[in-house]
Symmetry: C2
Subunit: 143 residues, 2 copies
DNA sequence: CCTTGACCCTCCAGTGACTGGAGGCCCTAT
DNA sequence: ATAGGGCCTCCAGTCACTGGAGGGTCAAGG
């Protein structure tokens, strides 16, 4: 299989596949003409990588997961640890985004969005205080 | 004010402040010795930037927001548009992360996490089918 | 006057995970 | 012989910083 075939079959761009080779995640054979020559096992690894990346695992995680995948004497606890750490990272990120979202949604709802220059969004950014709210802080408080 | 003072008062690292100058977000004066010499207005801009970045606005957004902030004949609709676009980006990202989170949490809950090698997480990544259910997937495919 | 140490400067390189493009070889079909 | 599509490598750019090397500036203390 040439790179175009594995690209189609794995759903990964050819550029990404070359990059994965460059960083040592995969190691496809070469044809006499210099073209990469992929085996089914390479395709399988790339599909694995594509799914792991789609779940947000870092390349480092992927490297560790592939090694475990390939290791018959692994302990599932090792895999679970990586996944749980990643889950925690995701939760942290979601929390950050939801905090931003709450503040931003509040500001947006306070902005008339018309042809006049008065804007609680800019007021807030410029002052660092709840510009649209009076007294109680809904945005900056307990985050 | 030297950069250390604005750094302390704005909460932004000195490196970041220099970077903001480099990309043209701010333009502090210089002392005869070559040191940056910040006015109160520079500090105000940096505080604005710090808050906008904390809400996740890109540098491009910040540039636009600063320009609007500085423009008395702006229309608040322009500001609101930027904020709403950003809100939509945040929502997209949250949705993606929650989708990953759901899949990952399910896989983690299915994994014993003990000293045995059997692992539904790796099974799923390797096969691309649900891990908790017995997959009928054949790896063969056409060659 | 000299040293110490905190502060400041510029320039370069690296991060993560690709992505785009230039310039050029290989292969098949016409 | 040529046209096209696919493949190759190498370099640069993305985003928003961050780290570090190597060196200048300034006030206080000896």
């Amino acid at each position: 299989m040439n790179i175009g075939d594995v690209s189609r079959r794995s759903g990964l761009p050819a550029k990404t596949i070359r990059y994965y080779e460059e960083i040592g995640l995969i190691c496809p054979a070469r044809s006499p003409n210099g073209y990469r020559s992929f085996r089914e096992s390479d395709l399988h690894m790339l599909a694995f990588l594509g799914r792991a990346r789609a779940l947000g695992f870092t390349i480092g995680d992927c490297r560790a997961l592939l090694a475990l995948y390939d290791n018959d004497s692994r302990e599932s606890a090792q895999v679970k640890q990586i996944a749980e750490d990643h889950l925690a990272r995701i939760d942290t990120k979601i929390a950050q985004l939801q905090s931003m979202r709450a503040t931003l949604a509040h500001l947006v709802s306070c902005c008339a969005g018309d042809d006049r220059p008065d804007c609680p969004i800019l007021d807030d950014l410029g002052a660092g205080k709840g510009a649209a709210e009076s007294g109680q802080e809904a945005a900056a408080g307990g985050n």
